[in-house]
Symmetry: C2
Subunit: 293 residues, 2 copies
């Protein structure tokens, strides 16, 4: 299908720039946002955007509908709730949920959408608001491969590394693996810097000595120097990481998977939240690891 | 000083190719090895190599003496033992210890060498035997900066990333930070692959989806695919990593530094050793993390 008009539900810190990149790529948009003023502002500033009165109306006007909201319950609400997407959706439509939520919820939603001759792709992203603005997000997609291929140009307007990960839920599972790796690698950086500090070793020198080899990681190169400077400005906030790690723990529990390291970092982030650092960048984990503040 | 002849003590799996690279760079060598036949073989095949009868004789014949042996006790033995380096060393000489041992021992040895008008550089390496052969080792050096600058051409014959880390012991401390990062990042990779496996996600797809972003690490890109294939051939053996992590724990204890994550991986490697995997590559940590075998 040639997609010309896209439905877009959720114009938050991520959704707004992503919608902007779809416009730049030449798509028309019909949008809905819980806070209506944001949708109205977006439409006022951008020809090619119309505002719907409900998610149902979005679904009536577009065959591809993107949702990017906060929690599993928010996605369930905009899809299944009163005047939700499922009450307006036309047969053959595809819902792309780009929120980071439970893979089990995505599977359940897909079953309900399939009863209406529609389908769901779960496609969470990584790369933060900077990646959303630049159109360089990593997009991890789960669903039917044929659906994925149909909407690939839509993804390409918003992201750079776009991966088909498997059946519905696989995008979310891949995002969860991403967060396991991110948080544990960050914990490693915090321990190494604390260890250097406590033993009179210049942490900046240590970082430059080891980051090109087997110890290297994105977290070390990008967040290590910020930790050394005490710069806790958020790229990605601890509160959001904790939301994601809770999803990791749910999946680990449901599949009897031991994730001891990720669980430990989850607890250390709890400690950081207890120190009032929830809205700081994830690198403020250092305060919980080092015991310094 | 223009270094022409270098003393070299320890022609093991690392030392032998490193000595070979010094020869290629035009240095003469006087060597000693605990197993004499190895030294004799090396000299027989390489003009420019002479074999000394003891570490003391090595020190009598060269102003720069490299040691690369196994443990703190081995270094102490070749430097301070009967017919050790310190009994033959000439004033103004520099001992470069490239073993991975205790930073406290390096400091003690330096004090004793300074009494003889000499000094020590601790310069452990990373990059394994492959890096030793290719001359691409990372070299992390601690000692007086003037000494470091004098012997830099010697390092450049053996390594690629060469970093002056600070006073004596700083090379070892940097290597310990390196091993904290390596082992914790590897643990992250093991958990993510186990998590993917147990939830029906293709681990290879997961790795390719996330390795270019914030979850990326050397361990993920290089050891992740080996874990998925079940390839446990050693790049770096678990037994050797455990030796290094014991040193990390000593330093952490001495400096009251909490390294909870590194300590946990140390225990998981114990479990892998208990399964008979000590001589496998570090990636066999996966067996202890996943509970599979």
């Amino acid at each position: 299908m040639a997609v010309e008009k896209i439905g877009f539900v959720g114009l938050g810190i991520m959704g707004l720039p992503m919608a902007g990149n779809l416009l730049k790529a030449g798509y028309e948009l019909v949008v809905w946002n819980r806070t209506t003023s944001k949708a109205n502002d977006f439409a006022a500033n951008n020809p090619g955007v119309s505002v719907a009165s409900s998610p149902a109306e979005v679904a009536e006007q577009a065959r591809v509908i993107i949702t990017i909201v906060t929690d599993s319950s928010d996605v369930a609400q905009v899809v299944l709730g009163e005047n939700g997407i499922s009450s307006g959706i036309k047969e053959g439509s595809v819902v792309i949920d780009m929120s980071t939520i439970s893979p089990a919820v995505e599977k359940d939603l897909n079953v309900l959408l399939e009863e209406k001759g529609c389908s769901l792709i779960d496609a969470p992203v990584s790369g933060g608001d900077v990646g959303a603005q630049a159109g360089t997000l990593a997009i991890m997609a789960g669903g039917q491969r044929t659906d994925f291929e149909k909407v690939l140009p839509v993804f390409e307007a918003m992201g750079k590394t776009i991966t088909y990960c498997g059946p519905v839920g696989s995008g979310q599972l891949t995002k969860q693996c991403n967060q396991i790796l991110v948080s544990m690698n960050l914990n490693a950086v915090c321990e190494a810097i604390s260890f250097a500090d406590n033993n009179g070793l210049d942490p900046d020198v240590m970082i430059s000595a080891v980051s090109g080899g087997a110890a290297g990681s994105w977290q070390l190169s990008n967040l290590g120097p910020k930790i050394v400077e005490g710069d806790y400005e958020p790229g990605f906030m601890i509160d959001l990481m904790q939301k994601d790690l809770k999803l990791v723990m749910e999946t680990a529990n449901a599949s009897s998977t031991q994730v001891t390291g990720a669980s430990m970092v989850h607890q250390l982030f709890n400690s950081a939240q207890g120190k009032g650092l929830g809205r700081k960048g994830t690198q403020a984990l250092f305060e919980a690891v080092s015991g310094k503040d």
